[in-house]
């Protein structure tokens, strides 16, 4: 990429006061570096990914409200986790975590188990227990 072609598009980097460094070529075709504040193509991909995450969070919230899944699913989505990542954080098998996402089984969980989940989500046990999706 030529130095003069480097994109300077509005992006998510600005919120953190960041710029990116890129290797570009100058007028004599020699490599140098330059800063970019963002690139539209990349922003589109990031926005798509965030949109999917918001959709999943909203769906999880609805499912908790309807008693289909336990609050674990909602906070898992809120923290951009999947079952694999969450299982690693609470140090349990994936199938165990999956069981805990059923409302009936969730209600019977001990406080020490709930604490593991709450810690993984960075919230209190009460917040986890009392989330009703409404």
């Amino acid at each position: 990429m030529k130095k003069q072609d480097i994109p300077q598009d509005e992006s998510n980097l600005q919120s953190a006061n960041m710029t990116e460094m890129l290797y570009v070529t100058d007028e004599n075709n020699n490599y140098t570096t330059a800063q970019s504040i963002g690139w539209e193509a990349k922003k589109a991909a990031l926005d798509e990914s965030m949109e999917l995450i918001y959709e999943r969070i909203a769906e999880a919230k609805q499912n908790v409200a309807n008693g289909i899944v336990s609050p674990i699913i909602y906070f898992m989505e809120l923290n951009k986790m999947d079952l694999q990542v969450l299982a690693a954080y609470v140090d349990k098998w994936q199938w165990t975590v999956k069981r805990h996402t059923k409302p009936k089984i969730f209600k019977k969980l001990s406080d020490s188990t709930l604490k593991k989940y709450a810690d993984a989500f960075g919230i209190s046990v009460d917040e986890l227990k009392n989330f009703d999706g409404k």
């Binding site: 460094m21 070529t25 490599y31 539209e40 193509a41 991909a45 990031l46 990542v85």
Partner: protein, 331 residues
């Protein structure tokens, strides 16, 4: 305590940590040099490993591989440590700082407080340098940032003990021995040969062959999984390609810069021409990302778009195959 350490921003975290750590010890190697000698160009496709609800693509080798390979080829020794207990990990890091050793860390990205929200996801192979501790906060040189930053003890522990795929487990590393004189010519040749070998590997999940597999899968995803899922997979392809300096276009440009430097050191003009060639390929990767972004915008675009994207990627794979074959012969 604060070690005299220069923070330089780089395009990719692992090269950046490596070149910043070596510079601190008096060995001046550019980011592209580390990247080229460490064979940073790579492509792997793991269709059965789901990351962020999409198949696993990666434009980079396993975390740590670039620095380890570069160090080996330059005769540098690196010490790597992991700790099962977070307290031990912190003690060991502080001990290093007391002995004036700036230390590289593998960390998870999700809890890096200074990153923008959109960049926080469960990716555990980011690299940064800790070069001091002041008022209870660790001083951080994160090579993808313009400026040095800091993290509290609790924040640093969180990122060092991130969980999920590739957990860092407190992984810290630092060079312990650097030879008086390094044989740059030999190291460059070894690095180039290894890159050609990887990218031309006769297995379907690695290198040019893997790119072709992904390319051919694009229309199939559209047919079997529908537009929404396909677009998400394509988004993942761009993110892996262009996220914070890694991947397709960006990596080709770093490699172009490397070949330009290598041409001078090896007195080989052919490498200069090949530098131009990989630069042009890098531009095509960026065009490919723009074309994917366009698919999002015109939501009801013609169904042929996925075939066109597939063709573009196959074209890039053809050009790359020819490039690595020429490169192999050139050295």
């Amino acid at each position: 305590m604060k070690i005299n350490f220069e923070h330089h921003q780089t395009a990719h975290c692992e090269n950046g940590v490596a070149s910043n750590l070596l510079l601190n010890k008096g060995l001046k190697l550019s980011e592209p040099m580390i990247f080229g000698i460490g064979s940073g160009l790579f492509f792997v496709y793991l269709p059965f490993l789901k990351v962020n609800f999409a198949p696993g693509f990666s434009y980079r080798p396993m975390p740590g591989a670039i620095f380890s390979k570069a160090a080996k080829r330059l005769g540098i020794k690196i010490k790597r440590q992991k700790f099962s207990n977070p307290k031990d990990a912190q003690t060991a890091l502080e001990k290093n700082l007391e002995q004036n050793i700036p230390t590289g860390l593998q960390v998870g990205v999700f809890n890096l407080t200074y990153f923008p929200e959109e960049y926080k996801f469960h990716f555990n192979a980011h690299n940064l340098v800790v070069y001091g501790k002041e008022n209870g906060r660790f001083l951080i040189s994160d090579p993808v940032m313009d400026f040095a930053t800091s993290l509290s003890e609790a924040e640093l522990e969180k990122v060092r003990y991130a969980k999920g795929a590739l957990p860092p487990k407190g992984h810290m590393y630092f060079p312990t021995y650097i030879p008086e004189a390094v044989n740059l010519e030999e190291a460059i040749k070894k690095g180039i040969k290894d890159t050609c070998k990887n990218m031309l590997a006769p297995v379907p999940i690695i290198g040019v062959k893997a790119m072709r597999w992904v390319a051919k899968s694009i229309p199939k995803w559209a047919e079997k999984k529908g537009t929404k899922v396909t677009n998400h997979y394509l988004g993942q392809l761009i993110r892996m390609q262009e996220e914070i300096g890694t991947g397709g276009g960006g990596f080709r440009f770093i490699y172009g810069a490397f070949l330009q430097e290598a041409a001078v050191i090896l007195k080989n003009d052919e490498l200069k021409e090949l530098s131009k060639e990989i630069t042009a390929i890098g531009d095509l990767w960026r065009d490919f990302a723009v074309d994917i972004a366009r698919v999002y915008k015109n939501r009801n675009s013609k169904s042929d778009i996925y075939n066109q994207l597939s063709k573009s990627m196959l074209h890039i794979a053809d050009l790359e195959e020819a490039f690595y074959k020429k490169l192999k012969k050139a050295i």
